[in-house]
């Protein structure tokens, strides 16, 4: 597909995609159960709760307990979906996830909303930017960060078919919807959005759209970008990445996360071993966030379109 052919049809929050996906999944699969730690509507889980009240557990503000209960439900053959903010889904309960879910290989889907700075006004206490790193370090954990409403909905449904722990990360704000409504979600299979020859842009989550917009601008300037949506950070689609990089020989990685530990580091690790290549990060540089509007925060913390443009320019300079 050509970059200019990718257009947004509407703005909807990825968390709404999660809520709709969970409802549809609940209708298909009676083993699916939901849990929340007092954030049911923030996660849009009220649709599932209303239709399947006996399969939904309100655990209160007790995330550690929620993770343990989810592990127990999984032991009994259920497929639990836990729902709280990304901060409380990871850092707050790291040991519970590590021992009772990851090491015990429980079929728990840890569903995390309000990730990153686009949470906005609540500020840094809630804006986790380390969660991808924390979760991808856990052996056997699948880590997914879909890019829009449709993809989040599809991912929510698809992960029930994978037996094992999954971290599904999404966000709060309304965000451009541009992936097809009927697109099948395949864990670990990167989505090639636009072909190009000068630079490979790998992006995950909200920043996929930002990179599409940047690539359109670059196309007008005569820079041909290959844009690939890495919705699954672990397992990483190494083949897709190496195929693209072997062609372009320049890489930009964009994510709403710390530069340390996220998708950028995952790709840098791959390339260091298999195909050393000039690479630039678009990510938060060793900093906490702060209160503000999502667009203002993305701009201030180096996650905007301008930052992708600079990163491409820098990497193309290094490529010469």
């Amino acid at each position: 597909m050509k970059i200019n052919d990718i257009t947004s049809t509407s703005n909807r929050a990825t968390r709404e995609g999660f809520g709709q996906g969970l409802l549809e999944l609940g209708r298909q699969n009676p083993k699916v159960v939901g849990l929340t730690a007092d954030l049911m509507e923030s996660l849009q889980m009220q649709h599932f709760q209303k239709e399947f009240p006996e399969r939904f557990f309100q655990i209160g503000i007790a995330e550690a307990n929620m993770m343990g209960i989810a592990a127990g439900l999984a032991t009994g053959g259920k497929i639990p979906y836990t729902g709280t903010f990304a901060n409380f889904s990871t850092g707050r309960v790291y040991d519970q996830i590590r021992q009772s879910i990851a090491y015990s290989h429980k079929n728990v889907k840890i569903c995390a909303s309000h990730a990153g700075v686009t949470l906005g006004e609540d500020g840094a206490t809630h804006q986790i930017l380390e969660d991808i790193g924390l979760m991808r370090m856990l052996p056997g954990m699948v880590v997914i960060n879909p890019c829009d409403y449709n993809q989040t909905k599809a991912a929510t449904i698809a992960i029930a078919e994978h037996h094992g722990p999954v971290y599904l990360r999404f966000g709060r704000p309304a965000w451009p919807v541009f992936t097809p409504e009927d697109q099948k979600f395949r864990i670990g299979k990167a989505l090639h959005l636009a072909s190009g020859k000068d630079v490979s842009i790998f992006a995950t989550g909200h920043l996929v759209w930002t990179c599409i917009e940047a690539a359109k601008e670059l196309a007008a300037q005569g820079v041909s970008c290959e844009v690939i949506n890495i919705h699954t950070i672990k397992p990483l689609d190494e083949e897709a990445i190496l195929d693209s990089v072997s062609k372009t020989r320049a890489v930009v990685v964009a994510e709403e996360h710390q530069r340390a530990g996220g998708l950028g580091d995952a790709i840098a690790n791959l390339l260091a071993h298999k195909l050393p290549t000039p690479m630039e990060y678009v990510g938060v540089n060793d900093s906490f966030g702060e209160s503000g509007k999502p667009a203002e925060l993305l701009d201030k913390y180096g996650l905007g379109k301008k930052d992708v443009l600079w990163a491409v320019k820098d990497v193309l300079d290094r490529k010469k």
Binding site: N65, I69, G72, L73, G76, G77, Q96, S100
Partner: protein, 283 residues
């Protein structure tokens, strides 16, 4: 079902196994293991309906058990082996490289009988609640049992779990607290006093049973059966079980000092002399 005499003999053999396992590898936790021997023998030998072979993770239509204080793995491994979950000879591999009998229980190596990893404390009650809720959703009428330490109750997650089990009316759950009053750094009362433990559980909405003689096999069996009968009435049930840490080996008994320490050769011989050889035979 084995008679009390057989189960008493099993208790002695389990104690021999515990001391021998810990001595063999010069590490592990004999104190709490010895103190909970009657509990495990009662549970697996007389109280639970369970099926060692084939072991099924989901435990449908069976009673299932979760150990929250995973460091007392020696007693659990011994009882699992001696009730048919895996070969008794495998006890010799405890804590050694490539073993299924990890220092703390784990599902990772596929040891039959283990349904969740434990060791990092405070998580087991939550897990047991989840398993009990799964049984409720499935219309499965069997019970979920769990054991936690008393010092372990210092972990905040325990109280999150205790609060939620009552709120969710998880009444197919029997939690037992190993109330031995000891933890690594000393008596629980000195490290972090628990105060009026029965009153605390009661205030959190549980049906509270106190067992004064946690090292009296018949008393333990009777109490766990009573706890099962108290289920199904809208409340989770807790058994506060007073035990003697290190019970059965005089120099290990009643002190925190043998929480996580292995005996030397002389102490080993001394302990073995107090635990007569049984017809079951050592591993």
């Amino acid at each position: 079902m084995p008679d009390t005499q057989q189960l008493t003999e099993l208790c002695t053999q389990v104690r021999r196994d515990i001391v021998r396992m810990v001595y063999n590898v010069q590490s592990g936790h004999p104190g709490g293991s010895l103190g909970c021997t009657e509990f495990f023998v009662a549970l697996y030998g007389a109280v639970m309906k369970h099926s060692p072979k084939p072991f099924r993770m989901e435990g449908k239509n069976q009673d299932v058990f979760f150990l929250s204080n995973g460091h007392i793995s020696p007693v659990w491994y011994s009882v699992l082996a001696r009730t048919g979950y895996f070969p008794v000879a495998e006890l010799a591999t405890f804590r050694k490289l490539n073993t299924r009998l990890q220092g703390h229980p784990a599902t990772h190596e596929g040891l039959p009988g283990i349904r969740i990893a434990s060791g990092s404390l405070g998580q087991g009650i939550s897990v047991a609640i989840g398993a009990a809720l799964a049984k409720r959703l499935d219309g499965d009428k069997r019970w979920v049992f769990a054991l936690t330490g008393d010092g372990e109750l210092e972990e905040g997650q325990c109280w999150e779990a205790i609060l939620s089990a009552a709120h969710l009316k998880v009444d197919n759950l029997v939690v037992t607290v190993d109330w031995n009053g000891q933890q690594i750094d000393g008596p629980v009362e000195q490290v972090m006093a628990l105060g009026n433990l029965p009153a605390k559980w009661k205030a959190f909405g549980w049906d509270v049973l106190v067992l004064e003689k946690g090292n009296d096999l018949e008393a333990v069996i009777a109490m766990l059966r009573k706890a099962k009968r108290r289920c199904g009435k809208g409340k989770p049930v807790v058994v506060l079980m007073k035990t003697d840490m290190g019970h059965g080996v005089d120099f290990m008994a009643g002190t925190h000092k043998w929480h996580g320490k292995a005996p030397n050769a002389e102490q080993f011989e001394q302990a073995m002399a107090q635990l007569p050889v049984t017809r079951l035979g050592d591993f």
